[in-house]
Amino acid sequence: MIADETHKQETHKQTDSRPRRRFWSRGPRPPLFAYLAVSPTLVFVALIVGMPLVYSVWLAVHKANPITRKNTFVGLDNFRFVLSETSFWNAFGRTAHFVGFSLVGTTILGIAIALVLHEPFRGRGFMRSVMLVPWAMAPVSIGVLWSFIYAGDIGTLNGLLHDLGLGFLATAWLGDGNRALNLVALTHVWNQTPLTALMVLAGLQSMPASLHKAAMLDGAGPVTRFFRITLPWLKPTLLFVSIIATINALMAFDIIWIMTRGGPGEATTVFAWLGYVYSFQFLRFGEGAAMLYLLTGLSFLMAVFYVLVLGPRRSRHQAIPAATALDDDVAVRSPRPYSIKVPPTREPLVSPALRAVLARLGFRALVLTIFLWSALPVMLLILMSITPASDLIRVPPSAIPSALTFDNFRAVLFPEGGTTSVQAKRVPLSLLNSLIVGAVSVAIALAVTPFAGYVFARWPRARLFQGGLWSMLFTRMTPALTLVLPFFVIYRTLGLIDTHIGLVIAHLSILLPLIAWMMKSTFEGVPKSLDSAARIDGCSHMQMMLRVLLPVIRPGLMAAAIFGFLVSWNEFLFAVILTSTPDAQTIPVVLSGFLAQARFHEYGPMFAASVLSVLPPVVVAFVFQRYLVEGALSGAVKG
C-alpha cells in the first residue's frame, strides 16, 4: 500500500549516511583562484578592522596614565573596575530599557506596516518608498529634526500645541529624565521600524498563498491565521530582525549625541554613550575599551539567546515499529471513528457587502496612518527649512510660518553671499566631502568584495573562508566606538586625521564586511552551472568573473553600491572623531556642529542643511526602492 514508499525512504536515509570525512577537509578543495580572490578583502579587513581591534583589546587590558603616557598591563582589572561601578550598572538598566522599548516598538510597528504594505492596492510602491524614508535618513538629521520638535521654548510640538490652544500642555519634552529616555527610544523606533518592516515584507512575500487559503478552509479566522500561520512563518525572519534590531539599539549613539548627550543628568546615558564618555571625555581608554567589549559580549549573548528561543523546530524522530502498516494493501479498512459535524452556520451579522466597504475604509485609514507616521516629520523638516529663521525662535512658538523663503538655502549653498554664520559657510564643502568619501569608499569596496563574496558563496565549507566570514559577522557586533579609538590613536601618529583618505579607510571598515556579506548572498542566488558553463566555454577564472558573473549580478552590485553609499553618507561617529577642521568634515559632522554652537539665528540654515543632507537618501529611497528591498533580502542591514 501507500506505506511502502515510507519504507523506501527510510532505507534510503541509511545508505546515505556515508562515513564522515576528516574534519579538516570539508568539501572539495578550493582552487588557487579562490584564495587569490578572497585575499584582498581579507587582508584589507585584517588591516583596518583586525588591527584596530587587537589594539583595542590591548587597551582593554592596560591602564594608561594620561600624564606620563605610560601604559601598564593590568590584566582584567579594567573589566573588574567597570563591573564594580554603579554608573555602569545604571547605564545597564537604561540600556535594557532602551533596547526593550526599541525592540517591542520596531517589531510591532514593523509587522503592522509590513502586513498593510503586503496587500495589493494602488500606490503600494509609492507607499513602500515613503515608508523607507525615516530609515534612509542619517541618524544625525533625525536627531536634529526630533530634538527641535521636542525642544522646550521654541519646539514644533509645543508650537503645535499653542496653535491648537493647548498651550498649557507645552513643556520641555526632553527635560524630564525618564521621558527623555523614552522619547529618544521612540525616535530610534521611528528610524528603525522601516528596516523591520522591509524584512518582514520580504518574509511575507515568500509565503505561499495557498497556506492562508488552506487555513481559511480549515476554519481559521483572520486572527487565528495571523498567530498560527503568519507569525510562525515569519519566525526565521523575526529571529534575524530581532538580532539586528537589538544590535542597532545597543549601538545607538548618533541620536543620543544629537538629542540629549546622555542627559538630562545621566538619564539617557546608555552603554554606548558611557563608553564614549570614558574614552573620549575622561580619556580613560582602558576602562572605555573594556566597557565596549562588554557591549560586544552582550550583543553576542543576545544573539545566542534569540537563536535558542526562536530557532528552527525539528522533527522528533520516532522509532518505527517493525510491522505497523508497512505491509501492502490493508484489505479491510477500519471505519472513520467519529463523524465530525460542522456546527450550523449563522447568517453573518453584517451583510458581506457592508463588511467589504468597512474593510476598505479601515484599510485606507491604516495606509493614511503609515503615510503620516513616515512622512509628516520629514515634511515638517522641509517646512522649517523654508521658514524665516526668526520664526523658528518665536515665543510663544507656532508651527505655522509667517512667510516662506529660500534664504536659508541661499545661506548654506552660497556662503559668499554674505551669511554671517560660520557653520553655514562649511556646508557646501562638507557636501562635497561626503560625496567624495562615499563614492571612493563604495568604489573600493565594490572592486574587491564581489570576489570574496563569490568565494564565500561557492566554498562555504572551506575552513579559511568560513573563518573569514565569521569574523566579518563579528565585526557587525562590535560597536564602531571600539574601532574609533584605535583609529584615532593610529591616525594621530600617521597624520591621517582630517584627511579624505583617513575617512575612506574608516568607512571601509564598515563597508567591506557589509558588502562582502551582501555579495555572498547575491552569489548564492546564481546557479553554479553558470560557472561551469563559462569555464567549459573557455573562460579563465578571471574572465568568468568579469565576463559572465559580474554582469549577471548587476542588480546586486547596484543594491550594494546604493547601500554602501547611504551608510557612508549617513555615518557620523568616525567622521566626527577623525576630523577636527572643515577640510574633511562630512555633512553629518557640520550638522551636529550647528547644534553644538547653539546660536538661535542659525536654526534656519541648520534645517536647510538637514534637508540637503536627507535629499540623497530620500531620492534613493524613491528611485531605488526595488533595489533597497533586494538589498535587505541579501542581508545588508546596517542600522
Binding site: S210, L217, A220, T324, R336, I340
Partner: protein, 335 residues
C-alpha cells in the same frame, strides 16, 4: 455526509477578463467528478469559487440546494488539497492533520481518534511527529489528504494533487484516492490535466476549455461520444486524426489512431478505408504507431504486427464505420 454540489450558471471575471463563462454542473452526492482541461482553462478558479476563496461574478453555487453566496470559505466546510499541498511548515504531521478539528473546537479524545484513524488509513502512523520538510513528496501528499478527510467535508476538492509525484506513485495514489473517496462516500471535485487520470478515477468528467464547459459525461462517453471537435482531440492519446470528408466540404471526419488499422480480409463492406504511404513506424510496446501519408496529410494509425510493412511501403487503412466521427467544420460540434 457529503453534499450534492450545484454549479449554476457561474461566471467569474478577473477585472475585464472573463475566466468562467456561465458553467453549469450538477454534481450528485458522493460522486467523483474530474475537471479536465488544458492549462489556464479555469479549473483552479472554479475550485476556488466553490470553496469560497474567490467571489463569483454571477450565478449560484448550491450545496444540497442551499445557496452559498453569503457564506465565506470558513463556513462552507470544504476540504481542498492544493497542488503544492500547503502543509503548515511549522507544525508536525499530527498537528497538521488535527488543525481543522481544533478549529471546530472538537474535544481532545475525538481529535486523537480521528488523527489516529487518518494516519492508519493513509499509512502515516510512523510519521506523525515529523515536520513536513522531512517528508518525501508522496508522504506530503498523503498528509494533505489526511488533513482533508479527518472531518466530514461537504465536498473534497483536489487541485492536481498528483502532478508532483513520479509516474509510478501517481498511478498508485490514484487508486488509493478513488478507494478512499468511495469508502467515505465523499463528493469529490478532482482537477487534473492528465486525461488518463481523469478516465480511471471519475464517475463523470467535465471537460473545460477557456472557461466554457465542453462536455460533462461518464469517461467512456467522453471518449466514445465526444460532444465536439475539442473534446475529441483533447481526449485520447495519440490524438484523433481529422480529415476532410471526401464528399462534403462542411464536414470533418475524425478517426482515432486506435481504430485505424491496416486493412485485413475480415473488414466488412461498410468499413471506412484510406490508402497511403508509410512515413514512419514507431514501436510503442504492445503495438506500433504508423504515420501514414494520405494525400499530403499525415494520419496516425496503429498496427499490432508490421511483418510486411516498412517505411515507404503502400498501405491501406481501415476503421469500422461506427468509429468514424463527423464534425461540423464551422461550429466544431459532433454530428
Amino acid at each position: 455526509m457529503s453534499a450534492a454540489v450545484t454549479i449554476d450558471n457561474v461566471v467569474k471575471d478577473y477585472g475585464p477578463v472573463r475566466v468562467l463563462h456561465g458553467l453549469q454542473l450538477d454534481i450528485r452526492e458522493g460522486e467523483f467528478v474530474s475537471l479536465l482541461g488544458p492549462s489556464g482553462c479555469g479549473k483552479s478558479t472554479l475550485l476556488y469559487c466553490v470553496a469560497g476563496l474567490e467571489q463569483i461574478s454571477s450565478g449560484r453555487i448550491l450545496f444540497d440546494g442551499r445557496d452559498m453566496a453569503a457564506l465565506g470559505s470558513r463556513e462552507r466546510n470544504i476540504a481542498l488539497v492544493f497542488q503544492d499541498y500547503a502543509l503548515y511548515p511549522h507544525m508536525t504531521v499530527r498537528e497538521n492533520i488535527a488543525f481543522p478539528l481544533r478549529r471546530l473546537k472538537v474535544d481532545r479524545k475525538t481529535i486523537e481518534g480521528q488523527v489516529a484513524w487518518a494516519a492508519e488509513t493513509l499509512g502515516l502512523a510512523a510519521l506523525l511527529e515529523r515536520m513536513p520538510s522531512d517528508l518525501s513528496g508522496g508522504q506530503r501528499q498523503r498528509v494533505a489528504v489526511g488533513r482533508a478527510i479527518v472531518r466530514n467535508p461537504a465536498a473534497l476538492l483536489m487541485d492536481e494533487p498528483l502532478s508532483n509525484l513520479d509516474a509510478a506513485l501517481r498511478v498508485h495514489m490514484r487508486t488509493e484516492i478513488k478507494r478512499l473517496a468511495s469508502d467515505l462516500g465523499l463528493t469529490v471535485l478532482f482537477v487534473t490535466h492528465d486525461q488518463e487520470e481523469a478516465m480511471v478515477m471519475s464517475d463523470r468528467i467535465a471537460v473545460l476549455s477557456q472557461g466554457h464547459l465542453q462536455q460533462f459525461a461518464a469517461p467512456m462517453d467522453v471518449y466514445r461520444n465526444p460532444a465536439n471537435r475539442f473534446v475529441a482531440e483533447f481526449i485520447g492519446s495519440p490524438k484523433m486524426n481529422l480529415l476532410p470528408s471526401p464528399d462534403r466540404a462542411d464536414i470533418l471526419l475524425g478517426l482515432r489512431p486506435h481504430d485505424l488499422t491496416p486493412a485485413g480480409p475480415q473488414d466488412g463492406e461498410d468499413a471506412f478505408s484510406l490508402a497511403g504511404t508509410i512515413a514512419l513506424i514507431e514501436p510503442a510496446g504492445p503495438q506500433y504507431f504508423l504515420d501514414v501519408l494520405v494525400g499530403g496529410q499525415l494520419v496516425r494509425a496503429t498496427a499490432s504486427e508490421i511483418d510486411n510493412l516498412s517505411n515507404g511501403s503502400e498501405v491501406r487503412l481501415s476503421a469500422p464505420a461506427h468509429r468514424v466521427y463527423r464534425f461540423d467544420v464551422a461550429t466544431g460540434d459532433a454530428l
